[in-house]
Symmetry: C2
Subunit: 595 residues, 2 copies
């Protein structure tokens, strides 16, 4: 339904675009004429986002010039209310498969799942091109790859801040390290035939102990390169002000750690590697041992320790099974599950399903992460369960013990001012967030609305030295859903059915008829799930049976009994009957069996 | 599942309680002996919450002394993730039905649905006792009653701030007006045989233009009455600080209104009557006409205007169909649907489904309400749709254009200090919120944990002059779900099925067998919904059919074919087969038809 609505709005927008185009045509008819011709202009770089331009997640985009294609990111999107039961959504790559030989590079900006999660599904179908990414991102990608034994062996080029790579004849890239909440992420300057395009990665400012931002020189250096276009994420575009400094988060956590009289249990995301490093550092300072619970968190910490990114003293981290050897006030437990995920360790600990650890009076439990929308109820249950068992619970909502990884308004504006691009493309976020980012650019550097490109997933942009145009053409960019082993086999019909089943349940009616006489061979069978509990509603079932028998009896003897006709009859009349009786509309599934 | 978990925790808690009791017994054996006897102590008032003590919503509680019962509130709870598809949940009154003749009064604190919503369902079953409430609450209750033509005609006693009523021989009540976001709410002092019990209603502080709170004298006056027990809501118990003053909200709204160049469209809750009054007042000040869209909002405004509570100039409110008669900058449209509800007016306007109004460039759309958890996605779609059509969207998340109706920490603490009770019962909220409120009471007035009662729904409290005890006894307080016309007929089984259907879908397999030979009369029929789209997966369907035929063929000829046996076989083997093929576990519904 949402898809439909969005389409409706699309048409409005195209109308506006064509109005704009007409106006532009009136002003400089010769240029527009060239641009609107169907063949690719020799000095035109095409740009397409396959995801991340109408949502948070599923980030993937590509640039194309002649027979060269450069892909940036290959992420997944987590399911939402309107896609119940699926594992996740990946980008639609049907526009790339036919020309996979042209793909010269896949650049992965950082190791979060919304940037790497589609790799095991898509790389094989794209000819397994070389991946340019940082060392830590590579290790995170490889760790995930272990779950996909049939995926091809990946080829990497490890890049560092300051590296310059010639990706293909016409595309060159320079990488710059930035701060996010996973280490070793970068932004980049893409040198293309039409000018320099900056992809801002995902970032937030890093503040020193005096509250001054570090690393602004990177953006200054980029700004000196005469930038054609800046792409910046929009996740924080409607959040006023600056980030909560990680230094403040550290201080607040340290305060809480000092106040705790018993064990400390910290729940956070396994991917928040910088936070994990901070917590371990504070634990060492306070002479506490750290035990880690949660497979993904252990994995991630192993990765960064092996690389040498995270420095941990030899005896700080202890095996979970050794925690009984230490005094409660000497223990800190790091675990996954701050979102109330049923299988993550914190929820299992809270439910008493964990052999090694139970919550007890005197524990201090700290949830150091924001609540992902949709998880409010689970987090509430988690907090209730923990506090019922006597622990003190502290949560992000009420204090500075978490900071988002995404730059808010003022940080975005600072970058815009330092980079001073001619064009701005807000990326990563819903339309509303990208529009707020467009407002940010207008306010910060006075960009005119026509120099800000509000592109949607799948739309083909044509970038020339002096212009960016949203063409009327687009490539498929609709959802590809991953559910169990199936990729793309769960479509809109299945989703629609799941929603109806979840809301109203269903009733199967089986009419077994004699093929010759068209009369019932037995009483109609009725099965129902998720509607009402039939065993407690025998009267209603009998009424339905009676109605069906009457329905068939009304068909004249001489008339052929058409199964489709009877099915339609049952669907309509029994559906209406049940609605009148209950004011609910279960899915009616009529079956006619002729023997 | 959540219910189960909670129960697990209950047992932990009861253990703690019995330990506490043993300790208490050691200290003063004679008193405890009296209290633990099964018969009601002559000077014991029983207290039971039927809802609102483990959740937000479904507020209802009662006090009992001898043959006198006083009920406070009768609300509903909106459905959550674990109760898909239902309309709402109402309190379980099975403990009250048997002694309904003892009910002397139902007091309704204010007109919100979580305090009045169960009235049409329950009053008939409780002998239709008299309702004590304010004039506006009465009108809101009666408006809702129109949807329930079979509910009994209600009897009201209208109360005002300062009124004292003798409810029964042993219960007297004094009412005090307080500020919430619906007008005419109150708190009360209940004079009982064991002492004075204060029910704090739901409230927040009302600030004047200098930022000073108004109405503190009410709480002071209450505090002078030697209060035994204070019941305070916990919705805002973990929110630090003070409320955003409605004066600030007014100022921010006025600023936005002045900035708007075209029409102003404000989306908010129909129940936020104070906010609606403010908005209309500002509109009048700025010489704008107000049109109202949304049935419930029109109704509510009519109610307060008729009573004279809301003063509106004669020509301010115009019919919706007249908006074309006015200039855009002279128009303000008030509408429901700030939560992205599909049938509310704002969503319909945004989707272009509204004949009279379409969003256009130059419109300013203001969402003046918080997001109810679970609605994030719908609100995002709403904001996207509106901003795609060229309107400017402002939302509560980023500015002070909404203020909650619930007192945050510092306001709760102020009330505690003014009332100075001997006992404190945190009410209205999840356990975690109530625990935070317990901490507030310990910090504000130094109450000892044993004087703070953390009661759950259904637990029977025994209140004496000197003590409050959570007994081992409880009354049924589990969910009663309302779905369409059914009350209580949707139970845990139906909910569980809906959840499975939503996540994985279902497969119906119909095997039609010859009763005599036990062999197939026709190929098995397979229907599936919400699993995979069968039309695109014919191979899988054929494999399933083959497996079923093989399954039956394996049964020796001489063996009787037992339908239940075959059903179990199909459920297990086809379930496992589909899991191996797809890693999904749809609900398998086997049907065996013998002819």
């Amino acid at each position: 339904m949402i898809k439909q609505k969005t389409n409706k709005i699309y048409s409005t927008k195209s109308k506006i675009d064509s109005e704009k185009m007409q106006k532009a045509q009136a002003l400089k008819p010769h240029i527009v004429k060239k641009l609107s011709s169907k063949e690719t202009h020799p000095e035109t770089v095409k740009f397409v986002a396959l995801g991340g331009f109408e949502e948070i997640g599923r980030n993937m985009m590509y640039l194309e010039y002649k027979d060269e294609i450069i892909i940036i990111d290959m992420g997944l999107q987590f399911p939402e209310e309107d896609t119940p039961g699926i594992d996740y959504i990946i980008p639609n790559i049907s526009s790339l498969e036919a020309k996979k030989d042209n793909i010269r590079a896949v650049i992965i900006t950082h190791g979060h799942y919304d940037h790497i999660g589609a790799i095991p599904h898509l790389m094989g179908r794209l000819g397994n091109p070389i991946i340019y990414t940082s060392l830590i991102s590579k290790e995170i990608i490889l760790k995930r790859q272990e779950d996909f034994p049939n995926a091809p062996k990946l080829n990497f080029e490890i890049v560092k801040s300051g590296d310059v790579h010639q990706l293909s004849e016409h595309f060159k890239v320079e990488f710059f390290g930035i701060t996010h909440n996973v280490p070793d992420g970068f932004c980049m300057v893409l040198d293309t035939p039409v000018g320099k395009i900056v992809h801002g990665g995902e970032f937030k400012f890093d503040y020193d102990f005096n509250g001054n931002p570090r690393g602004l020189d990177v953006w200054k250096k980029i700004g000196d390169q005469n930038i054609h276009t800046l792409l910046l994420e929009s996740t924080g575009a409607e959040v006023p002000g600056y980030s909560v400094s990680e230094r403040i988060v550290e201080q607040e956590l340290e305060k809480l750690f000092k106040k705790a009289e018993g064990r400390i249990i910290v729940g956070t995301f396994a991917s928040l590697l910088d936070r994990l490093a901070e917590i371990i550092k504070i634990a060492e300072k306070l002479d506490k041992k750290v035990a880690i619970s949660g497979f993904s968190m252990k994995n991630n910490i192993d990765i960064v320790r092996n690389i040498g990114y995270m420095k941990v003293e030899k005896n700080t981290i202890i095996p979970l099974e050794d925690i009984h050897k230490y005094r409660d006030d000497k223990l800190l437990l790091l675990c996954t599950g701050a979102q109330g995920e049923p299988n993550a360790s914190l929820m299992r600990i809270a439910n008493g399903e964990y052999r090694q650890i139970q919550i007890k009076k005197g524990d201090t439990v700290i949830l150091s992460s924001s609540i992902v929308p949709g998880n409010e109820r689970s987090v509430q249950v988690l907090k209730d369960n923990i506090s019922r068992q006597g622990a003190l619970v502290y949560h992000y909502g009420t204090m500075d013990i978490h900071s988002s990884g995404h730059a808010p308004q003022e940080e975005l504006k600072t970058v815009m001012k330092l980079v001073r691009p001619k064009f701005f493309i807000p990326m990563h976020g819903y339309y509303f967030m990208r529009q707020k980012n467009s407002q940010n650019a207008q306010e910060a550097i006075g960009l005119k609305p026509q120099n800000i490109i509000m592109a949607d997933n799948g739309q083909i942009l044509e970038i020339t030295k002096t212009n960016i145009k949203i063409t009327e053409e687009s490539v498929p960019a609709f959802y590809v859903m991953v559910d169990g082993l199936g990729v793309g086999d769960v479509g809109e019909i299945v989703m629609r059915d799941r929603k109806i089943l979840a809301e109203e349940g269903m009733v199967v009616i089986i009419a077994t008829l004699d093929r010759k006489t068209g009369r019932f061979l037995k009483n109609p069978d009725i099965i129902s799930r998720g509607f009402i509990y039939l065993k407690e509603n025998k009267e209603l079932v009998e009424e339905v049976r009676k109605k069906i028998r009457l329905m068939i009896a009304k068909i004249p003897n001489h008339q052929q009994v058409e199964p489709d006709y009877i099915k339609a009859l049952m669907r309509d009349q029994i559906g209406q009957f049940l609605y009148n009786k209950t004011k609910r509309r279960p899915m009616i599934l009529p079956v006619v069996i002729q023997v």
